[in-house]
């Protein structure tokens, strides 16, 4: 289903390209040895180089180079063995040098691809490039009525700028792209993907055009969106805004905009027409980056299993449904949790329990899987008890609730609360016989063809056994006894 905006003059499609800035996981900054921790006291992680004192010079952090290559490989992209750092010159108080060391004509990573699992099927989204650059500091505008305060802690932290091709066609695709990209960098350990803290930021380039038009129209850039939800909402708003402009006979202005989450609107930041002339040129304080193929191959050999491959393995080896597999691999920790639980023997059951029951618990209290009150070991044991028929699925939910609120070993809880499933067919048969005798109307309904009344019989048995009868067995025995065996 293509995402279309129904305008008054016809249908419009949206063209989206995303530029994502991902903070590289490293202890020190890209060109200085100051720390990169989040939330430190202002200006307490600023070296002389970061403060652009006279005479200061950059020296590159070797780990950052490796992280960029690693990410490029995770995006199935071409690694450029030769790349060049260039200066992007402009004036802003959070840019102490008056230029940002970035890469322009020759980035370290070239074209790649990210495959999205959309409901309609897989969609390949092209990645244009990935390059390394310095992050800027922070401007605080709300500390003083007439002045802006500057904190340079973030200045000089290593960033990867990942630019997609304008292949995205809906807010949903954009959201899925963000989630996939975040999963990949988290799997790789090259970025922690924390959008609230700003270690992953998204700029969305949005344009619209009437369906069937081949050329791209003017695009606007929505900068610094810091959640996946907002990325989708901002794109949706902006696309509609642009359609309205065109249909009113106007023209979209090429400009930078910001998304106001409270109002749900984008607003113009500055006109890109007084465009910056960045005067890029190769940084004369640095030399070109020249990598060997061996270096790249070594990194390639050390890559962990990535989401797509892991998903395939879950489907092939564990028999998990494709959709469930996709959900489980979206986050590496969840995938690892799942595999630990799947060890219990029944992978499909494990998948089900995690996605339905565990996620509900986690979402209620906004917990990540790392903070799960139930360990993968314990959940595995619970699943095992279901798989070997010790308890029914229904009973398991009760046990699970106890595990969540009080903790404890599932087998122990079953024992303590006497929740073991009744599997003694004799007992059940006796109960069924009694029921049939005592309830001739229902029995007759059933024999007349009202199979729905089976549910009533099952319900009665369950009530009588306190839920401990094995439902499957009850069903089978009922059929036999009622004469449709």
């Amino acid at each position: 289903m293509t995402y279309l905006i129904e305008g008054e003059t016809g249908d419009w499609e949206v063209v989206i390209g995303l530029e994502v800035h991902a903070q590289i996981i490293s202890k020190a900054k890209l060109f200085s040895s100051a720390a990169t921790e989040f939330g430190a006291e202002p200006n307490s992680q600023v070296s002389l180089v970061d403060a652009a004192m006279p005479g200061m010079l950059p020296v590159i952090n070797e780990v950052c180079i490796g992280q960029a290559v690693r990410t490029g490989l995770g995006l199935n992209a071409r690694i450029n063995l030769h790349s060049v750092f260039e200066r992007k010159n402009y004036f802003y108080p959070d840019l102490p040098q008056g230029y940002q060391i970035s890469q322009f004509l020759e980035p370290i990573v070239g074209e790649g691809v990210i495959t999205l699992d959309m409901p309609e099927g897989p969609r390949d989204i092209g990645v244009e490039r990935l390059h390394m650059e310095q992050d800027a500091g922070k401007s605080l505008h709300d500390q003083d009525p007439k002045r802006t305060f500057i904190d340079l802690n973030r200045s000089g932290i290593a960033l990867m700028e990942i630019v997609s091709k304008p292949d995205l066609r809906s807010p949903a695709e954009a959201g899925t792209y963000m989630r996939k990209l975040r999963a990949i960098v988290r799997y790789l350990g090259t970025c922690d993907g924390n959008m609230e803290q700003g270690s992953l930021r998204c700029d969305a380039n949005v344009s619209v055009r009437p369906v069937g038009e081949k050329e791209l129209r003017t695009r606007t850039e929505i900068k610094n969106i810091n959640s996946v939800r907002f990325v989708m909402a901002a794109i949706e708003y902006e696309a509609e805004r642009q359609v309205e402009i065109y249909e009113d006979g106007g023209n979209v202005v090429q400009e930078t905009r910001l998304y106001d989450a409270n109002k749900g609107e984008t607003w113009s930041m500055r006109s890109k027409e007084e465009a910056h002339d960045y005067r890029y040129f190769p940084d004369p304080d640095l030399l070109p980056v020249d990598l060997t193929q061996e270096f790249v191959d070594e990194i390639k050999a050390s890559l962990p299993e990535l989401p797509d491959a892991k998903k395939q393995r879950f489907v092939n080896d564990f028999g998990v449904a494709v959709d469930d597999a996709a959900t489980l691999v979206a986050d590496k920790e969840t995938a690892d949790y799942f595999e630990a639980v799947a060890d219990s023997g029944d992978a499909k059951l494990a998948a089900n329990w995690i996605i339905q029951e565990l996620f509900a618990v986690l979402n209620k209290d906004s917990l990540g899987i790392a903070e799960s009150p139930v360990s993968s070991d314990d959940l595995g044991k619970l699943v095992g008890l279901i798989a070997d028929n010790t308890i029914s699925g229904r009973i398991a939910k009760d046990v699970f609730e106890v595990m969540v609120t009080e903790g404890g070993d599932p087998a122990q809880i079953v024992e303590n609360k006497g929740l073991k499933q009744i599997t003694d067919t004799g007992e059940i048969e006796a109960m069924i016989d009694a029921l049939i005798n005592d309830n001739p109307d229902q029995t007759q309904q059933y024999r007349d063809g009202n199979t729905k009344v089976t549910g009533w019989f099952v319900g009665q048995i369950m009530k009588a056994t306190g839920g401990k009868a094995n439902p499957q067995m009850v069903n089978e025995l009922l059929k036999k006894k009622l004469g449709l065996g």
């Binding site: 652009a52 006279p54 005479g55 010079l57 005067r279 040129f281 004369p284």
Partner: protein
Amino acid sequence: MNSLTDLTIARSRDGLDKGDFSAVELAEAHIAAVEAARDLNAFITETPELALERAKASDERRAKGAAASAMDGIPIAVKDLYCTDGVATTAGSHILEDFTPPYESTVTQNLKEAGAVMLGKTNMDEFAMGSANITSYHGNVINPWKLDDGKDRVPGGSSGGSAAAVAGHLALGGAGSDTGGSIRQPASFSGIVGMKPTYGRCSRWGMVAFASSLDQAGPMTRTVEDAAIMLQSMVSHDKKDSTSVDQSIPDFAAALTSNIKDLKVGVPKEYRLDGMPGEIETLWQQGIEWLKAAGAEPVEISLPYTKYALPTYYIVAPAEASSNLARYDGVRYGLRVEGDSLDEMYENTRGQGFGAEVRRRIMIGTYVLSAGYYDAYYVKAMKLRTLILQEFQQAFEGVDVMLTPTAPSPAFAIGEKLDDPVQMYLNDVFTVPASLAGLPAISVPGGLSDEGLPLGLHLITKPFDEETLFRVGGVLEEAANFTAQPSYLEGVA
């Protein structure tokens, strides 16, 4: 004058070793000379207390037989381009008003650890942009060489203050910097030795950056041997500078063997300019003869790209400078002139903080990097640079060293050559090619002009072959036997 200021580094080292005098006495003599010579305006900041402190420490080391190096106890002047810990550093500019670095440049740290005694920070063209030391916020430097016409003359630039200090016997050596000739040309104008090592020999960490791919630290001294001694204490491989080369460091002074037999000396004909004063040509020929007499073989060579070096330089250097000087914005250090908005604050600060020459070069640099002009100017210039470098490389397959004049004229009077910036730029015509190619080069006083002002001879050699430079320079020095003194010294009691 107190004869303690008329020595050389080498003789002072000997005198200190023998105990003829102490480092404190040496320092005191020079401190007094500096104070008495304030009319030359060679210093922006004098550091007599610091000097005495370091001199005292030097004597203590020597007493224990633990002199740090040949520079231990030697009073030096340091160009105000070097960031010195706790000592005001201005780079000759108003925009670095009240800037006191909390760090020491690698080169001056090396000199400090070698035991050198810093007398103060010397005057210079603003941000090293100039060849006459007439663009400093702190006023012009006067060349100690004067003629009877009573006109004040320029010492050359941008290391004019260091040149005047060494020539005027205020310091035994000066740490200068050379981007297009800023050590060598003032050395020529002031009758002293000045050399620029291979690009990458000295660390640029802590040196206020002008043009990153060209800037180099170097010594300014009264003899070639002194330059070798001082350079020894300046060079190092610095991990904090990505362009610092990790090359083995030879004993530079040991290279002064005077033996240049069979050495091939290239004489590039393109350095013979139309309208060049006859005396320059005469001295150049004289230099060739001297080297020939010492057993070397002069070879006429052709470097056709020579004439393009200066315009190439005036694209590359301003381009890098326009970016390097963007950090001077009134936010984190230096001058700040308020404004109603951020941009106004920037524009006021930089408009008032930078002098005319710096503003001009920033404009040139901004323009050649700007959209639409980048390929035509900057890329073009970088291609020319490749050609100039290749030309030198090819030539050095046939010769070991090249001899040229250092400057196209002797020191001119303050106020001359101001009509057209290009006129001023031409001062560097002989020194710039070696800068663009990153080659080591030295200027040695060769003789006097017809009027009686010093003229230098310029040697260029292959990368990392400073030894040949010193060896040949030593031979030239001996042959030239340049004993003339600036008249300023006669006037000093």
